[in-house]
């Protein structure tokens, strides 16, 4: 392992890969350190939909930018990462969700060009497989789906070609801040001296923070998904249910709900890939670093899925999986240099939006290092908002 580098990125998930790519594109000397393998964390266990449909400012603008960057990179990388304009349908479960969904449509129209409110008939013209009693949906046809694994591997390959050093199976054991402000990163494969340190360790970010006495309020939130056998085309858009908008899925609301499905944090989402497999999700719970699947969540996801797509009941599930998303209690990521610790930059807490925000995060962090200012303001994402003493 090299002894010196200018920028060290800790974490080989999609965020770390994007940052490493954009830095090496700018000719900046960068080293990526990953304790497992590229995308062996949440990025390798998620869904890949890039949608604006449930978001508000400030994340909404960031996702719109990210969508444009994905399109740019698709051209550049020759569409190796299955980037497709599938569009998203936000499905209403009940009529009484309509006011909130209409409000969201108005909110989206300020930033997104194509937003349509569909009634039941219009909805089933687009997706005939949707249950007859689904009253309507919000439709964003410009939304994308990508393969986050292929995208991240592609980013890393491109970064390597531009001089980035990538070390997998390399675990950070300690971080020391030198008198001159540089960082000594102690790993199981040797020591590295670095001017900048970027914490992109996702669900493990708080562990890195502790090494320099920082309390980073990121905790793992487990998300489970089901994978079906390959089947004939059943749907062509990404489906999300309006519960993502209308029901709170924070820890407290989930724990105190009377509804078993809400206690499990389950809301329906689904997409189908060109191989024919469908991904069906998803649940949320807080079990620290436990990545196992649970029978309750699997049952609940399966049950919710046939409410919206009845044909699914005869389809086989071949696999389930779970990923640990980096959860921050105020639902915003943590981005930017930590005031008082020069060169220590946090880029984590993307929750369930890591894939959506990866390109824009990579670009912004690279700008921060290149010229100490960003093309999009990121003050609202600063670590400073937690008012922690360190």
């Amino acid at each position: 392992m090299n002894k010196n580098t200018r920028v060290t990125v800790i974490g080989g998930g999609i965020i770390g890969c994007a940052i490493t790519y954009y830095l090496s594109k700018k000719g900046i000397d960068v080293t990526l350190i990953e304790k497992g393998e590229i995308v062996s964390g949440a990025s390798g266990a998620c869904q890949g939909s890039i949608t604006t449909i449930t978001f508000q400012s400030p994340l909404l603008e960031m996702i719109v930018e990210s969508q444009e960057l994905y399109q740019e990179l698709k051209k550049k990388f020759d569409n190796d990462f299955e980037c497709k304009k599938t569009g998203t349908l936000l499905l209403l479960d009940k009529e009484d969700q309509l006011p909130i969904v209409e409000a969201q449509a108005d909110n989206l129209r300020e930033k997104v060009t194509e937003v349509f409110l569909l009634n039941g008939k219009e909805l089933r013209d687009i997706e005939p497989a949707i249950a007859k009693d689904v009253p309507g949906a919000l439709y964003c046809p410009q939304d994308l789906t990508v393969n986050p694994i292929q995208f991240s591997l592609r980013l890393v390959n491109a970064a390597k070609e531009m001089g980035a050093k990538i070390y997998t199976y390399t675990e950070v054991e300690n971080v020391k801040i030198q008198r001159n402000g540089n960082f000594t990163i102690v790993t199981n494969k040797g020591k590295l001296n670095s001017e900048y340190l970027i914490n992109a360790a996702g669900a493990w970010s708080s562990i890195i923070g502790e090494m320099i006495g920082l309390k980073i309020p990121v905790i793992p939130r487990r998300g489970q998904l089901l994978v079906t056998e390959p089947i004939q085309p059943l749907i062509k858009t990404t489906l999300i249910e309006a519960d993502y908008l209308t029901t709170a899925f924070d820890q407290y609301s989930m724990e105190t709900s009377n509804n078993k499905r809400i206690r499990l944090g389950v809301a329906f989402t689904m997409n189908q890939f060109h191989e024919g497999n469908c991904l069906i999700g998803s649940s949320r719970d807080f079990v620290m670093y436990d990545r196992k699947n649970t029978i309750e969540a699997i049952r609940s996801i399966a049950k919710r899925s046939i409410r919206f797509i009845p044909k699914l009941k005869d389809i086989n599930v071949i696999r389930t999986y779970a990923g640990l998303r980096p959860y921050v209690h105020d639902n915003l990521p943590i981005l930017g240099e930590v005031p008082g610790i020069k060169g220590f930059i946090i880029a984590t807490g993307h929750l369930g939006e890591g894939i959506m925000l990866a390109p824009i995060t990579g670009k912004i962090i690279s700008e921060l290092i290149e010229r100490n200012e960003t093309s999009i303001p990121i003050n609202q994402y600063s670590f400073e908002r937690f008012n922690h003493a360190y």
């Binding site: 995308v39 390798g44 089901l226 078993k260 399966a302 086989n316 696999r319």
Partner: protein, 94 residues
């Protein structure tokens, strides 16, 4: 170490996902050393049989390319075999 002649690049290792020896070797050459990592990079083991057919073949290629025995198996997750969603839902109304 003498290379095993059976493993030519064009040979299909994962029949469910059409993954060749060449693609497995490419993943290993990029630095990947686990079955799960090779699965993520190539899709070998993501298909209907979930690695039952290809797992030991991929292990052999890994041994041939790196000289080391792979230390971890493919991560196992439910269901044990393909299961209809209707069955997963169960009968009790919750």
């Amino acid at each position: 170490m003498k290379k095993n002649n059976v493993f030519v690049d064009e040979m299909i290792v994962c029949r469910c996902e059409d993954v060749t020896v060449g693609e497995i070797r490419e993943a290993i050459n990029s630095g990947i050393r686990t079955l799960d990592g090779i699965k993520r990079a190539t899709r070998a083991g993501m298909g209907l049989c979930q690695g039952l057919t290809c797992q030991s073949l991929v292990e052999q290629i890994l041994l041939e390319e790196t000289g080391k025995r792979n230390s971890s198996l493919l991560n196992k997750r439910p269901p044990l075999k393909p299961t209809k969603i209707e069955i997963l839902v169960g009968e009790k109304d919750e």
